[in-house]
Subunit: 292 residues, 2 copies
């Protein structure tokens, strides 16, 4: 999609500018931040943020640094998630994980720094200058969805569930927090920065929730059906770590049906936007059909 490529280029260029210069001559942590951010991620969350902002009539230049902040938060979560004391994954996005490339201590600090700079980027954004009240609401949402009752809460459930069988309700709670929270942050912050009305904001939140669930189900499917080279991370790691997934609980066929149902629900929630939501509809379909 042309628009996706345009967003991607804008986001990647800005991310590079936003990284700290680290003038104190101890570059390891800054190198590690750059390495992790450069890793060729799909940039789904920042793209979602910008597109939701556009759909609600917002100013994309003003929202850009919030989009980058969200990608920094997503990236920090991957860096910490891969640590030996967490999921202990050696590969990420097709190259050695941050702690393999830079050592464990630097990976902890690089993750911490990405999280910190994310909030710095948000507070220094054009949105903060032009619409300070909206920017503060967006920063509060960023913290809420990334925090202990959002993404980190999901990671906590994930840790506590290792080696145990959990039921579908618990799995859904975990995924709603672990994966869904930042998807929701993307769409809701895009709406908030644009000053969207409640109807549009609610529609985008519903889209994000369904999309996040579909995304996680597809992740679980790919861990079984994908290969390590295409995924850029080890296939089969869920089974190896005895994690309950949509595939282990529902079977492969029902999991595929569930992914389709969630994608359909995501698409349906966009009715209020009419034809203008074609990009978000296409994105939901593409994410369902992805192979990595």
């Amino acid at each position: 999609m042309k628009r996706f490529e345009d967003y991607l280029e804008t986001i990647n260029r800005r991310l590079t500018q936003l990284l700290p210069a680290c003038t104190y001559d101890a570059p390891a942590v800054c190198d590690a931040m750059r390495y992790s951010l450069d890793g060729g991620g799909k940039r789904i969350r920042p793209v979602l943020l910008l597109e939701c902002c556009r759909l609600c009539g917002g100013d994309l230049d003003a929202a850009l640094d919030f989009a980058c902040a969200l990608e920094m938060i997503h990236t920090y979560s991957l860096v910490h998630d891969d640590l030996p004391c967490m999921d202990d994954d050696d590969m990420r996005r097709g190259k050695p994980a941050c702690h393999i490339a830079f050592g464990e201590a630097t990976a902890v600090l690089a993750g911490d720094a990405l999280l910190t700079e994310a909030f710095g980027a948000a507070a220094n954004s054009e949105a903060a200058k032009k619409t300070p009240a909206r920017a503060l609401e967006a920063i509060a949402l960023l913290a809420r969805y990334a925090g202990a009752e959002g993404m980190i809460g999901g990671q906590t459930i994930d840790l506590e569930s290792e080696g145990k069988t959990i039921d579908l309700t618990r799995l859904q709670t975990m995924d709603r927090l672990k994966t869904g929270a930042l998807m929701r942050a993307a769409c809701e912050i895009g709406a908030v920065l644009a000053g969207a009305n409640d109807e549009k904001r609610t529609a985008l939140v519903r889209y994000a929730e369904a999309l996040g669930q579909a995304f996680q189900i597809v992740d679980d499917i790919l861990d079984v059906t994908g290969d390590t080279a295409t995924l850029g991370k080890p296939a089969g790691s869920d089974a190896q770590q005895q994690k309950s997934t949509y595939v282990s609980l529902l079977g492969l066929s029902a999991a595929k049906q569930a992914a389709q149902d969630c994608t359909a629900a995501a698409v349906k929630s966009l009715a209020v936007f009419g034809a203008d939501a074609a990009f978000l509809r296409g994105l939901a379909d593409d994410l369902m059909k992805r192979t990595s």
Copy 2:
């Protein structure tokens, strides 16, 4: 000091309220956050923030959640600093370090969550509602001083210096970032939230820088002269980890003189406030004379 006790009570009460409720029934990370924050810290940074705000005629109720945010950031840095892959300290504030009490993975997540909630507290503060532009400037300062060019930069230099002898200039850079940055954040944010003029803001920044240096020198001295029970963390750990310190580079007697000189410089920078700065002067003296 009566005022110190009053600040302490206000800060501790509010910190408890600000911690997330964690309603998703996976309390480990929230317990670990609470455990680390409850650990009986000196709360110097939030006290500094409130007092600097008061000195500049600001609204303490509006600034309170920024004070708490700063203490959350300080606490997260201790939790991550104590991890096995970092300083590998088992004791903190007189009790088992977070990763000893809750495991390494939960300690990583609890640190991440404290850092995240800190920015949430700042964005949801009374200051954000009443003076949004000042609040955004304060959030940007919080990120800058806590980030890769602030506290985390200092920790990076610390890591890279282990087992090596570094010179005094490098040690001062490290301490200016590692310890000084959050002291400076405290004083400067207090001034910003109060809408202080440049003269007062600059005076408080100078105070913070000198105080931060004195604080670190005294820390180095106590690691040599203190005992584990009083310190609440292992004495002698700098020597054990072969770290360069003010004591190892200057000798004990010259280090003590340097701490006095820095304290005197801190006190001198407060001239613009006259008698109203008695509390900050007393605080500088108390920190120099502390035994833990």
